[in-house]
Amino acid sequence: GAGVSQSPSNKVTEKGKDVELRCDPISGHTALYWYRQRLGQGLEFLIYFQGNSAPDKSGLPSDRFSAERTGESVSTLTIQRTQQEDSAVYLCASSLSGGASYNEQFFGPGTRLTVL
């Protein structure tokens, strides 16, 4: 079946502009995650959605970052007033459920964001 998809695959923007990154999880997966990966680095957790529960936003680096999820489907990560330090690959993942299980997180191919 289809895996996690993300769009766009690459985004180049100017400093100060807003950007929206989209994630389509695997159908039936109730949990959705966003991570950021700076060049040559590990992944940093940003935000986690689980069903209808309040999202875990503990990883968002500033109030310029926000994310929404429509039901158990598409999620959008928005970065306002982008800065050069926001340049990174943004990865989305989904799993059957989160929380106490160790269900595998399936990752999308990521969106490479470049802020000029």
Binding site: G40, G42, P109
Partner: protein, 114 residues
């Protein structure tokens, strides 16, 4: 706060040889899970192997196995009979039992040489 440390930024191994990647973590939790993910140049993250902390038996998946030392908070990955397709960046990750988020190490770049 939990941390994950991978002390080997880069490693190389000859094809068909065995290599071990190191990972240590710090936590006060008793219920947690550990993972190794592979990220080839295509950027697609792929789960290699996972381990539940309450299980003493080390996990194995074909050529991949782990050495889980709970008291030492160590979780190393052994790749046997290395293949060219194993060339990738490998990430160790930690998950607390009651949350979904993964905490990743900085990664180890593995090159398998023919």
């Amino acid at each position: 706060a939990q941390t994950v440390t991978q002390s080997q930024p880069e490693m190389s191994v000859q094809e068909a040889e065995t290599v071990t990647l190191s990972c240590t973590y710090d936590t006060s939790e008793n219920n947690y899970y550990l993972f190794w993910y592979k990220q080839p140049p295509s950027r697609q993250m792929i789960l290699v192997i996972r381990q539940e902390a309450y299980k003493q038996q080390n996990a194995t998946e074909n050529r991949f196995s782990v050495n889980f030392q709970k008291a030492a908070k160590s979780f190393s990955l052994k790749i046997s009979d290395s293949q060219l397709g194993d060339t990738a960046m490998y990430f160790c990750a930690f998950k607390r039992g009651n949350t979904g988020k993964l905490i990743f190490g900085q990664g180890t770049t593995l090159q398998v040489k023919p």
